[in-house]
């Protein structure tokens, strides 16, 4: 356990720790591009310079292991000067097209320049021209001119995804990142190279030019793409969700996440959502407020008695399962509760890194709650019940992420055999809206709009926090469970003011707590 001094602070580190790791742990800032804690050390950017006492020249921190009694300093004028001119070399061939670069705002070059650079360039030669807008594969676009050749992406494909698509070609200032002819950057983790790229050389096709990053807010949550439950950040603004990025979590995902998980923001956006509750009778639909619709079905469910059944998908939080199960078991006195398993064949598959075949965030949580309420039913019972007419009223908590339910259409057709179908889910679905029986569709909230707990495949409980509100009127499964059992939920009732003008509030409108601070709804005041 060698002891050393970093910027005047004495610390003790493990054997074999490099200086940059020690600085990371002690939250000291150091300029660097090529070093990434999840990858091997390359030592090519020459920016993480530190001064070590007794050593006449500055050294790189990422490839120097700490020895006993080292006195390290990275705040001296000598180090700052070294970084400054190191940065000048990086910017020799950089096109400085920040206005059209997607990375602007979160760019390593911009940050370091503001901190260490601020020099006048002394290069008289012309800039080296390289390839622009290179289509690397289905997800990533490359701009070689912006690349500073830190080789993070090359190391990522070599060490993490182990697909070896990317490489460095040519020599000297003509060096470029690229793929061998005929090969595309096409793997399940390809978008991680966009995250680790410190400049705007690699950009995501999905996010490219859609928003400037300074218009986005971010918030941490859990990916609901599969049962791994990676820690992620979602980026959003008033117009909706825009992207998902991984957050370091040692227990679950490390530094990375899969490309599939990055698409989960799509079903939370308003375009894909069910905005109002819909009531269908013989193919004619009427729209009403979600809360009102849930209240309306309450007497129907109470009457149903033994012919009532519930189908659950593993896409909701533990708290929600708890409420809906206690409603059905205790209030409606039925244990006909079924677990809808999507893609049964690949349910237990695992690709060795992060991706799991179980595309639900909370399978463990659902099974745990079912066990707690002693529910033991098989799918065949539901089938035979629907066929024989023993199940007349069916409540379904449908999938939040409909893309991972390949059997969705089949199941909708199957469930529509029930006399009354109450389908609760976040997203809109054409097939559901073309049903002709007695159907009530109730919009639910997605994982970014509620608090709760997910239990991942390891049994790790992870809390999620409400990020924002997208469809303010939608209910959580928790609220829906209370309303369909005839209970009231605490609602926000705005203080009544005596006005001469009639308000535009409907008598059946359910005012929820979130409504008052919802930033997506602009309410104009009454006159």
């Amino acid at each position: 356990m060698p002891k050393c001094t970093i910027n005047g602070k004495e610390i003790e580190v493990k054997n074999g720790t490099t200086i940059i790791e020690a600085m990371y742990e002690n939250k000291q800032s150091i300029a660097h591009y090529c070093y990434h804690p999840g990858l091997s050390v390359a030592g090519v950017c020459r920016l993480c310079m530190v001064e070590i006492e007794g050593n006449p020249r500055v050294q790189i921190a990422c490839n120097t292991t700490i020895a006993e009694g080292m006195k390290i300093n990275n705040t001296s004028a000598k180090v700052k000067d070294a970084v400054k001119w190191g940065l000048d070399f990086h910017l020799i061939n950089h096109p400085l097209d920040c206005p059209i670069c997607d990375q602007a705002g979160e760019c390593g070059l911009q940050d370091q320049y503001m901190e260490f650079g601020k020099y006048d360039p002394e290069m008289a030669e012309k800039k080296q021209k390289k390839h622009k807008v290179v289509d690397l594969g289905p997800t990533v676009v490359l701009d070689s001119e912006r690349c500073i050749l830190c080789s993070r992406c090359v190391r990522f494909t070599d060490e993490v995804s182990k697909t070896h698509e990317l490489g460095l070609f040519n020599r000297g200032d003509r060096t470029e990142i690229g793929t061998v002819e005929g090969i595309q950057l096409n793997n399940k983790y390809s978008l991680n190279v966009v995250d680790i790229c410190p400049v705007g050389a690699l950009t995501s096709k999905d996010f490219r030019f859609r928003q400037r990053v300074w218009y986005l807010k971010d918030s941490e949550t859990i990916c609901t793409g599969c049962s791994t439950g990676c820690s992620v950040k979602v980026y959003f603004n008033k117009e909706g969700m825009f992207r998902v990025k991984p957050v370091y979590n040692e227990q679950v995902n490390g530094h990375w996440m899969c490309d599939e998980g990055r698409g989960i923001y799509k079903f939370t956006n308003k375009e894909a959502r069910l905005l109002k509750a819909k009531k269908g009778q013989g193919g004619t639909w009427t729209e009403l407020a979600p809360g009102a619709a849930a209240k309306e079905v309450a007497p129907l469910l109470k009457k149903a008695g033994d012919s009532l059944a519930l189908v659950l998908t593993a896409q909701y939080t533990v708290e929600e399962y708890e409420t809906i199960l206690s409603t059905f078991v205790n209030t409606f006195k039925t244990k006909k509760i079924f677990f809808w398993i999507n893609n049964k064949e690949s349910f237990d598959s695992f690709d060795g890194l992060l991706l799991r075949g179980d595309k639900n965030p909370n399978t463990k949580g659902l099974l745990k709650t079912l066990q707690k309420y002693n529910v033991t039913t098989s799918w065949a019972e539901l089938k035979s019940g629907l066929d024989s007419g023993a199940i007349k009223t069916l409540v379904v908590a449908g999938p939040e992420n409909q893309a991972v339910f390949p059997d969705l259409h089949e199941r909708i057709a199957e469930f529509s055999k029930a006399q009354n179908l109450i389908w609760m889910q976040a997203g809109s679905n054409e097939k559901l809206e073309s049903l002709t029986g007695n159907v009530t569709l109730i919009p639910l909230k997605t994982f970014v709009e509620k608090n709760g707990t997910f239990i991942n495949h390891q049994g790790l409980e992870q809390k999620i926090k409400r990020v924002t509100t997208i469809v303010s009127e939608a209910l959580t499964l928790d609220q829906a469970a209370h309303l369909i059992s005839g209970e009231e939920i605490p609602v926000f009732v705005p203080p009544t003011t005596e006005t001469l003008v009639e308000t535009n509030r409907r008598p059946d409108e359910v005012m929820l707590e979130h409504r008052k601070k919802n930033e997506f709804v602009f309410r104009r005041g009454t006159l």
């Binding site: 920040c98 206005p99 059209i100 030669e125 021209k129 622009k132 807008v133 030019f209 400037r212 218009y215």
Partner: protein, 174 residues
């Protein structure tokens, strides 16, 4: 309300004042009739007073040599705008040297406070404030100016050329 009448002697000489006023009016009338060029007034709206080119009025989007928009949709003007009246939707251009361009660029001129920050923020001289200032319209929607109006309205005569040219920049190796 009581009206106080002023019946003093001095007040009876009002006619002289009126006639004096009439003389001035007639003098101007005759002057304007015989020398129209020196007339101080304009027949608005048929005649309009043009301000200097440096006046900061309605926005103009400049164009490149080929007539396409100079704007690169970097959103710096929209970010800098204190009135939040600029709305840009960016898209990918087929030409890799252009890369990014605005498919829609809208300015809500009723929200605009003509501060000129957009002009200052623009890195490529794509937006300027022009000398136009009298732009009435029949309803609110006409005050949201789109690309067609901002860059190609008739009185710009095919668009105003930007000072910053990418081709020249690339040639000189910047």
């Amino acid at each position: 309300m009581s009206v106080v009448q002023n019946n003093s002697e001095k007040n009876k000489w009002y006619l002289i004042g009126i006639l004096g006023g009439m003389v001035i009016t007639m003098k101007h009338l005759l002057k304007n009739l015989f020398n129209k060029k020196k007339m101080d007034t304009l027949n608005y709206p048929e005649e309009k007073y043009e301000y200097s080119n440096r006046f900061k009025g309605n926005h103009v989007l400049t164009v490149k040599k080929d007539g396409s928009l100079r704007c690169t949709a970097c959103m710096l003007c929209a970010t800098n705008c204190p009135a939040e009246c600029i709305k840009i939707t960016a898209a990918e251009h087929n030409d890799p040297t252009v890369e990014k361009f605005p498919i829609s660029y809208e300015i809500d001129i009723l929200r605009c406070i003509f501060c000129g920050f957009c002009e200052e923020a623009c890195p490529v001289d794509a937006i300027r404030m022009g000398p136009e200032w009298q732009t009435p319209a029949v309803n609110g929607s006409k005050f949201i100016y789109d690309i067609n109006h901002l860059a190609y309205r008739p009185n710009l005569k095919g668009g105003i050329l930007s000072h910053v040219d990418d081709e020249e920049r690339h040639k000189s190796g910047i």
